[in-house]
């Protein structure tokens, strides 16, 4: 489903974010991409969402070559993904309900459908009572959960998260991961970039480890650091 072939990403200041990485993710797989800060996890997510283009190599999502997508195809590609960004990227002037609804609105779903689906998505992440709140009225953890609800609400083909448990207490983080596990069991491909060792080690899923932009380990049932 997702395939990185010899992908290199250089930034203009000659930083090498990714260096000839190759790995693939099968449909329905759950993969952790781990590594310390600066290892290249966020760049990898940005390449998948087509925010950045690779300097070299090929990235495929299903049949798509992400780097050569035309604008109309980029829109469709992004609709197929559910992404949780490290900085959440919530719309500050929209309520929690509206933020989640936006992912459905862009797909052209009806108001009636949105009214039914969004409260369910909010309750999945424990924010059913916070629908009318604006992001600045939510705690860091709540904002993160709201970003997760927005990423999941349209049932994407693949769920990609960049540090989805970074600002959440261990108990809530664990709840989120269990939720992702449940979604994965329903067939959604999950790719989580994290350095939260305790989560990775508990789940016993495939681990792709990055270090200075290179894949140094790709292991099924892998662990990461000390738990």
């Amino acid at each position: 489903m997702i395939e990185f072939k010899q992908v290199t990403k250089h930034y203009p200041n000659s930083t090498i974010a990714l260096d000839k990485i190759t790995f693939s993710v099968s449909p329905g797989e759950f993969v952790f991409v781990v590594g310390p800060s600066g290892a290249g996890k966020t760049t990898l997510v940005k390449l998948l969402t087509r925010e950045e283009l690779p300097t070299e190599g090929e990235i495929r999502f299903g049949e798509r070559d992400i780097a050569s997508l035309r604008p109309g195809e980029i829109i469709q590609h992004r609709r197929d993904l559910g992404v949780v960004y490290q900085d959440y990227r919530l719309l500050s002037k929209k309520t929690a309900f509206e933020n989640v609804a936006l992912a459905l609105e862009v797909l052209g779903r009806s108001d009636q459908e949105i009214k039914e689906i969004v409260p369910h998505a909010l309750s999945l992440v424990g924010l059913e009572e916070r629908g009318e709140h604006f992001p600045h009225q939510l705690s860091g953890g709540e904002q993160q959960r709201l970003a997760i609800a927005r990423a999941l609400v349209h049932e994407p083909k693949a769920f990609i998260a960049d540090e989805p448990t970074g600002n959440i207490d261990p108990e809530t983080a664990w709840g989120i991961i269990k939720l992702l596990e449940k979604i994965n069991k329903m067939g959604t491909t999950i790719l989580v970039a994290t350095h939260a060792a305790h989560i990775v080690n508990k789940l016993n899923e495939r681990v792709v480890e990055l270090e200075r932009g290179r894949v140094v380990r790709d292991q099924r049932g892998g662990k990461y650091g000390s738990s």
């Binding site: 969402t49 469709q76 992004r78 919530l90 500050s92 002037k93 609105e105 862009v106 797909l107 052209g108």
Partner: protein
Amino acid sequence: MVLLKRAFRNAFLGILRHRGLSLATILVVGLTFGTTSGFALFAFTTEKIINYYESRALVTAFFKDEATEVQILTLRNELLARPGVVEVTYTSKEQAFSIYSEQFKDQPELLESIPTNILPASLDVRTESLDDLPKIAEFFQGNELVEEVAFYQDVVARFKSLVTAARYSLLALTTVFALISILIVLATVGLIIYSMEEEIEIMALLGASPTYIRLPFIIQGAVYGVLAALLTGGLLTLAIPIVLPYFRSFFANVPLPDPSPLFQLGLIGVEIIFGTILGSLGSYLAVNRYLKF
């Protein structure tokens, strides 16, 4: 339809939730429109004043004693039928003497020394344009009934070059004002969109189509334009009755009537059209700057 409904809802929510910025935008755009409209009105009034003075320039033909009133009035009718002629005033010998008497009533010695029929009958001709006056002078000069033609060609030529310079200056200034106004409006609306750059980027990352992203901002820009135009229209309606008497006192002879309600509505209408076009265009251009795929 759903897209349009959502675009309107998002546009109005955007305006309400960015209250401060929205108000500032409306005020800046309104002020810009107001200044430009005020100047355009000033130019319009000045043009009326110039037109008035232009129409005051005249050619006077003094007739020989043997010219009869019937002959002169026939000539008058002939002139009135000519294109560009606005007014032809006949002054008989008697009327001329009575005007003379009135002017010199304090100097009876001047009146006593001349016979009552010494002053000639005359025709004063006014034309729409200064350019028509020499033709009228030529017309009289070829007529055997005419004794003398009074036409101060140099003065008229100088006045004409002054009028032309004034008109070009007004046109140039109005154009410059309008261009500055357009740039200010585009920049102001662009600034509010700039503050929403992140919002645009996030929507694009969620897979929103360019139309879905642009439409609310375009509507928002149009609403700012309309509200600013209404504000300007309201202010001008209030300002005209205050400013007009000053013009009237400066140019006492020039008829400057109160603007009709239709004129004022037209002015507001033009402002609204310009406001809508500029507001939405400003938003469109600004959103495009941040819409990257």
